[in-house]
Amino acid sequence: MAKLNGSQMIMQALKAEGVEVVFGYPGGAALNIFDETYKQKDFKVVLTRHEQACAHAADGYARASGKVGVCIVTSGPGFTNTITGIATAYMDSIPLVIISGQVANSLIGTDAFQEIDAIGISRPCVKHNFLVKTIEELPRVLKEAFYIARSGRPGPVHIDIPKDISAAIGDFEYPDEISIKTYKPTYKGNAKQIKKIVELISESKKPLLYLGGGVISSGASDLVRELVEFSGIPALETLMALGVLRSDDELNLAMVGMHGKYATNMAMSESDLIIALGARFDDRVTGKLSEFAKSAKIVHVDIDPSSISKIVTADYPVVGDVKTVLEDMMPRIKELVKKENYKEWRESIKRYNSIHPLKFEDSDDVLKPQWVIKESAKIVNSDDAIIVTDVGQHQMWVAQFYPFNKPRTLLTSGGLGTMGYGLPAALGAGFASSSHVINFNGDGGFLMNVQELQTLAENDIPVITIILNNRFLGMVRQWQTLFYDERYSSTDLDNKQPDFVKLAEAFGGFGYRVNTKDEFRNALKFALSQKKFSIIDVRVDRFENVVPMVPAGGALYNMILK
């Protein structure tokens, strides 16, 4: 058996897990590990400029590639900085392995320099965590971390490694297989229940598929497409599920919820059978709970039993992997379900769509953010482009107006709503794919991880950031407009911004400031042809609001439409 030190064991494990890129930021307690990364050639080590960005980059990589994202950081401040990134991944069920250095075992608990109870801090925002106390357990812990991160409902797993362990020498044999006695995710759904559900579907008049991020993480998108096409059942998507169905599919009702389409929210409110697949009934989706889908029976398929009936009681719960459950369901569906049965239902949704389609008032005097997004899609013209967003109004407009046609082409912080996510996640996506990566950002959030422009420059990742610059913390400004009598407390950024063009140049990329449609088109076309990163600072209408909008706590069918 090979004798290795702890740091070498980590390298061997990363290699065995097929890791291609590691995002990291060094420091005292992680020095042994970084010393080993210096020597090996099996994967790339990317130095981000902030540990929060390190976790977001690993997250962006994981979302775009479907693989586990990895980051390595040091103890104390290094670790506390990563927490926002870890929590972001946790809320959206993104598989990450986060390795942090820790002070030596003998110093733990002494308030040593850069000591922090990392395990205690990460516990509420990870799927699982480990403090490695002995070199003997390290190989198993590494193997378990990757296994736990990617299996079942995916999520971040944190390994805290004291400095003496990363130096200690021990026997190394990486386990091929593991079985954790206390952890056995259920993939297969209950057969009787599945049979029952198909019967329900065949008897219902207004069924609706409610697709969540679980469809993408279980790899069920193709099956869902097949199901929708065969059954003629309309489907709506959460923010996390955009791309599961093609944007031009007539049965795709697009995004539901607070900023969902009128027809979509009305369909949810009128349906008699909601089939939730890997979706978790977030409050941004349901609106006022007592008014949510009052006439519907609820079928809920989810791999995480604790998601089921957490918010909305499921009449027909199925614990299982969406893909596996659909595979079991399809043959029965093909026997029992008839497309014609839902014709009237489809017609009535269509009517809703024609009363209040998703629209905006374009202008030639001032650029409208929605126009910029639609136009970008035309110019980029590729189903493979990866679109990243930060958090705010621009995020909702991207969700509404960008035509997503493939899963894993929208990377966005859904559950936690983390400003500062966009740029580093785009960086991570740049390592996962050779497609164009476009990051739509607000002018506020862009400054939250702006230092990562340096990482983009250094690694020749040509991310294009389109700043929809309204000189406001726009989404908060919108709430202040609607609910706080226009008191713009701490949201007006007019004359309080850096020069984004010079900023791009200072970091070694291209910067463009655009005020007109033509300027925008030219800038984006030019940016797409470059091998360096670009920032396009688009001056947009300052007071544009995201509509429709369901005011927080309101019923889904009561929308502000203008």
Binding site: T182, S306, K310
Partner: protein, 156 residues
């Protein structure tokens, strides 16, 4: 708000208790009492938890507990034997008449004594422990320590 009993069988590893407690506190659920000890000749510990809450909250607790990686099994029985232990320190200077009878009816005993104090011990279900403590009040106890419930399901 019903009183609920659950027994959680967990892998006997460091940090597991704080995972369980963190789950309750992070969600604002109450723990009325909690006792833990290793299960003999196994790699597991048994955690006995008494909590209170409505059916929905309770269901969530169970599901969330299951989600913790080191949780092996959760026992929610319709009938538990539920016992607590209480230790009561009373000054010898008190008039101790009637103490014998009280101890007898609560299956109590004297756990320790010296020239100043008696330490009384009793073990029973939590309602009877409440009553026992009330009764002991007349002996002006200087200290009362009660354990959490230890519970075992009546049927398999």
């Amino acid at each position: 708000m019903d009183r609920r009993l659950i027994s959680v069988i967990v892998l006997n590893e460091h940090g597991v208790l704080s995972r369980i407690v963190g789950l309750f506190s992070g969600r604002g659920y109450n723990i009325d009492s909690l006792t833990v000890a290793p299960i003999p000749e196994s790699e597991f510990s048994r955690v006995s938890i008494v909590t209170s809450g409505d059916e929905r909250a309770f269901e969530q607790i169970i599901k969330q507990l299951y989600k913790l990686i080191p949780v092996y099994k959760i026992i929610e029985a319709d009938e538990f034997v539920d016992k607590e232990l209480v230790l009561v320190k009373i000054p010898l200077a008190e008039n101790l008449s009637g103490l014998d009878a009280v101890l007898k009816s609560y299956n109590g005993s004297i756990a320790n004594s010296d020239d100043k104090h008696l330490i009384i011990m009793a073990s029973d279900d939590s309602v009877r422990i409440d009553n026992f403590i009330k009764t002991m009040k007349k002996y002006s106890p200087t200290d009362i320590v009660r354990s959490g419930s230890v519970i075992i399901e009546v049927r398999e």
